[in-house]
């Protein structure tokens, strides 16, 4: 951001800024210092648990992030749940009814879901479910403590589905292909030879073994969901970290962008650690000493 053109002081003052004001503002914001000094200050502040102040609003970045992080986590986790709830049945049905109308239908849905950009899906959802049908609010966020559980859920459904749809499509495709591989394994044939019901074969021997790569993808895709939250939060006017990032980038507010990147990185690493730990539960062959 320091390399790209665009001076935060200039953005704040806009067109028609007096040279004296620009110079004073750059000095007050510390922008007239060399980049290594600014970065050094940032690193030393981090060690003290201080992410600095937004150069535009003067608010501490850490408290603003902590205020927004629950919104983004609720959004990403709910979209993850929606994605899994959609993907598992679709992918499984496609695999066991391979080359059927059901398979083609669900894979066409998956293709559509992967291809449709999240901002477009969001606006279409608002148009249909809020504007036309008045089922859900089209924008805004409701907290459980302030607005009640029902309002919280009503405000979450559209953005959750909009963000989760693309991931559901991807997971459905992976579930299908992984399950097809697993269902061709010897132990599945053995299970069938033992006379187990097909449903049991698919669920216990097929799907469980197909889950491992699926969970790996889930962990990796969590980062993509955090990225998608940037767009979703803007379309649905949610007060989360993603929208904070957009604001930071638009105004070249370096401490905000640095803070967002740091917090998102920590969350993504934490989620992937959880995914690694979950392998133990999913696959008895995996053990961490």
């Amino acid at each position: 951001m320091h390399v790209t053109p665009g001076d935060p002081a200039l953005i704040m003052l806009g067109a028609g800024a007096r040279a004296e004001d620009l110079q004073a503002l750059r000095h007050n914001l510390g922008l007239d210092q060399p980049i290594y000094v600014q970065y050094g200050r940032f690193l030393s502040n981090i060690l003290r648990g201080d992410l600095g102040e937004s150069i535009v609003s003067k608010r501490p970045v850490l408290s603003a992030l902590l205020q927004r992080l629950p919104v983004t986590l609720v959004l990403t986790i709910s979209s993850l749940i929606i994605a899994v709830l959609l993907a598992l049945p679709l992918g499984t049905l496609s695999a066991i009814r391979r080359a059927s109308i059901l398979d083609y239908g669900s894979m066409s849905f998956a293709l559509l879901g992967v291809s449709a950009p999240v901002f477009w899906v969001g606006v279409i959802f608002i148009f249909i479910f809020s504007f036309k049908l008045s089922w859900f609010p089209g924008s805004g966020y409701a907290s459980i403590s302030g607005d009640g559980f029902a309002a919280f859920i009503r405000h979450l459904i559209l953005p959750g589905f909009a963000l989760g749809l693309g991931m559901a499509a991807l997971l459905a495709r992976i579930t299908r292909s992984t399950l097809l591989d697993v269902l061709g394994e010897d132990y599945v044939r053995t299970a069938r030879a033992k006379g187990l019901r097909e449903g049991l074969v698919v669920m216990r021997h097929g799907l469980r073994n197909a889950l491992l790569p699926l969970v790996t993808v889930l962990g990796l895709q969590f980062a993509a969901l955090m990225g998608g939250a940037v767009v979703t939060e803007t379309v649905f006017a949610l007060p989360g970290v993603g929208r904070f990032a957009v604001y930071g980038m638009q105004s070249h507010d370096f401490p905000v962008v640095q803070g967002v990147v740091l917090v998102v990185a920590v969350v993504v690493v934490a989620v992937n650690v959880l995914v690694d730990i979950s392998y133990v539960a999913l696959d008895p062959r995996v053990k961490y000493n």
């Binding site: 790209t4 053109p5 665009g6 001076d7 935060p8 200039l10 953005i11 704040m12 003052l13 806009g14 067109a15 028609g16 800024a17 007096r18 040279a19 004296e20 004001d21 620009l22 004073a24 503002l25 007050n28 535009v56 609003s57 003067k58 608010r59 603003a64 205020q67 927004r68 606006v123 608002i126 148009f127 809020s130 504007f131 008045s134 609010p137 089209g138 924008s139 805004g140 966020y141 803007t234 379309v235 649905f236 006017a237 949610l238 007060p239 989360g240 929208r243 904070f244 957009v246 604001y247 980038m249 638009q250 105004s251 070249h252």
Partner: protein, 521 residues
């Protein structure tokens, strides 16, 4: 019987007049929800710069003078003012104004607020009072400003919400937190602010103008214009202040849309910097320094048709001919007759005369909003007719602003807005002191225009100022540093339950004033 009928009709008429004049039909109570495109940055007037902060500050605070709905300067916290000498302004304050904390607003508050703005320790991002030498309280309700030199647009400066009056004790009590817990003397008191979610205000019953009809006002940031449009149509919010150009016709009927030409001047900026353009880098000279080339660009661009294509149905009403709003007291209608009009053949002829019959290559720098993108594309097609091959670049705002100020472009589709005082447009956009970041991105320089604008800023009477500004406008209309496009339409779409709310040329709303007191059903 006839006599009775006459009495009945007269009484009914009187009742109608009374109701309309006194606002008796207005209902007290209710909440008004207004959608903003962005969350405010700060609610401390001294530190605020962005429009969204100003919109809320306008409801929580008062300033000495203000612009009414017609763009005229009228008293607000003052009863009257006097300008006994060119550099001395005296203001007599109202004695019935109280802050939300219950204390009476006095001259000391005005002096303290102004000193706070002027003090370098405050680190106000924009020094609005750079022309002020001294501010002092003459008595409890009289304030005197002494300027460094005569500055005629001084009242327009004081009308900016950034100079709203602040109670000293609240800043001392809250420190930096005042920006998140503002206390003013305006019609609504601050209640809460959850970033990117909502700002809530409630009625200040002791407001000196009138008790507000509304119980509560909520500002909700909705960044996507299309989503905001759907929100007002479903009644999720009551008011939105922006509409996509393509949706204007639909919103007129479905969303009670009001449209008025605003204070934002949109134009094609012709970069005349002698050395910085890409054209200069390639060819060693800047063709736009040649008046015939600038005339050709203006003649080839069919502004009327373009505006009707970009803003169907309202194009004619927002047409700009020069850099000053037509409603301004200094507007010179002569420039409309001087406008080049559309004549492609004449444009080609002028290009040939200037030695550019084969055209050249250039770059258009354009803001990324829908309207200016459309205009950039049409401009590109227009230039092709003059054999000018143009590319369009639309970087993000920060980069665009930097490049515009550095002169790193050839043609720019830009915008500008200011207070209704002509100084705010003509001086900043056209005076050579303001090349680059000052606002003169055309890098236009004309010594007589500079002189006229200097005189306009210091002349003591409105008539004198008017004559200088009128003369400057004529010179600029001939010299054509811009292709004047349009006055940004200010939109106000609302639900039918909202009454008395009017679009304001500055892009925000007045909820309570001597003229209006907004109410909801």
């Amino acid at each position: 019987m006839r006599k009775w009928l006459k009495y009945f009709c007269t009484a009914t008429l009187l009742l109608v007049v009374l109701v309309s004049v006194s606002g008796l039909g207005a209902k007290v109570g209710g909440t008004l929800t207004i959608a903003l495109a962005k969350d405010p940055v700060t609610l401390d007037p001294t530190m605020a710069l962005d429009q969204y902060s100003m919109e809320i500050i306008d409801q929580v605070f008062d300033r000495l003078v203000r612009f009414d709905l017609d763009g005229d300067l009228v008293p607000s916290l003052v009863v009257s003012w006097e300008n006994p000498e060119p550099t001395r302004w005296v203001f007599w304050l109202r004695e019935d104004v109280t802050f939300h904390n219950g204390r009476t607003l006095t001259a000391e508050d005005v002096v303290w607020t102004m000193h706070r703005m002027m003090d370098p320790e405050t680190k106000a991002p924009r020094q609005r009072l750079y022309m002020v030498k001294e501010v002092r309280a003459v008595d409890e309700f009289t304030v005197e400003f002494v300027l460094n030199e005569s500055f005629a647009p001084f009242l327009a400066i004081l009308a900016n919400p950034g100079l709203s009056i602040i109670p000293k004790e609240e800043i001392e009590r809250l420190g930096d937190d005042f920006a998140r817990n503002p206390v003013g003397s305006g019609p609504f008191r601050f209640v809460s602010w959850i970033q990117d979610k909502e700002v809530v205000l409630d009625r200040f019953a002791d407001y000196w103008v009138a008790e507000p009809n509304l119980d509560k006002v909520i500002f909700r940031p909705i960044p996507e214009t299309s989503v905001a449009e759907m929100s007002v149509l479903t009644g999720d919010v009551d008011v939105i202040e922006d509409v996509l150009p393509d949706d204007v016709e639909y919103m007129k009927t479905a969303g009670n849309l009001q449209v008025m030409p605003g204070g934002g001047y949109y134009y094609v900026c012709i970069n005349m910097h002698p050395e910085r353009t890409s054209l200069y880098e390639k060819t060693g000279k800047n063709p736009f320094l040649d008046l015939r080339v600038r005339q050709a660009l203006n003649l080839a661009f069919d502004t009327d048709e373009v505006l009707n294509a970009v803003y169907p149905g309202i194009g004619d009403s927002i047409r700009a001919y020069g850099t000053l709003p037509p409603a301004s007291w200094a507007y010179n209608e002569v420039i409309e007759a001087l406008a080049p009009g559309y004549d492609l053949e004449r444009a080609k002829q002028l290009m040939a005369e200037a030695g550019y019959a084969d055209g050249f290559e250039c770059e258009i720098l354009a803001m990324s909003d829908a309207a200016r993108q459309a205009i950039a594309i049409i401009l590109q097609a227009t230039l092709k007719k003059l054999n000018i091959e143009a590319t369009i670049d639309s970087p993000e705002f920060g980069t665009l602003l930097q490049r515009a100020n550095d002169g790193d472009f050839d043609l720019g589709v830009f915008g500008w807005s200011g207070s209704p005082d002509p100084h705010d447009y003509l001086y900043w956009l056209l005076h050579s002191d303001n090349w680059g970041s000052g606002g003169n991105n055309a890098f236009y320089k004309n010594a007589p225009v500079d002189k006229l604008l200097d005189y306009g800023a210091t002349a003591s009477t409105l008539d004198e100022r008017k004559s200088y500004y009128e003369a400057a406008q004529v010179i600029v209309a001939v010299e054509l540093p811009h292709i004047a496009l349009y006055w940004k339409p200010e939109f106000l779409a609302k639900t039918s339950r909202v009454h008395d709310l009017q679009a304001h040329f500055q892009g925000w709303f007045t909820l309570v004033s001597p003229e209006v007191n907004v109410w909801v059903e």
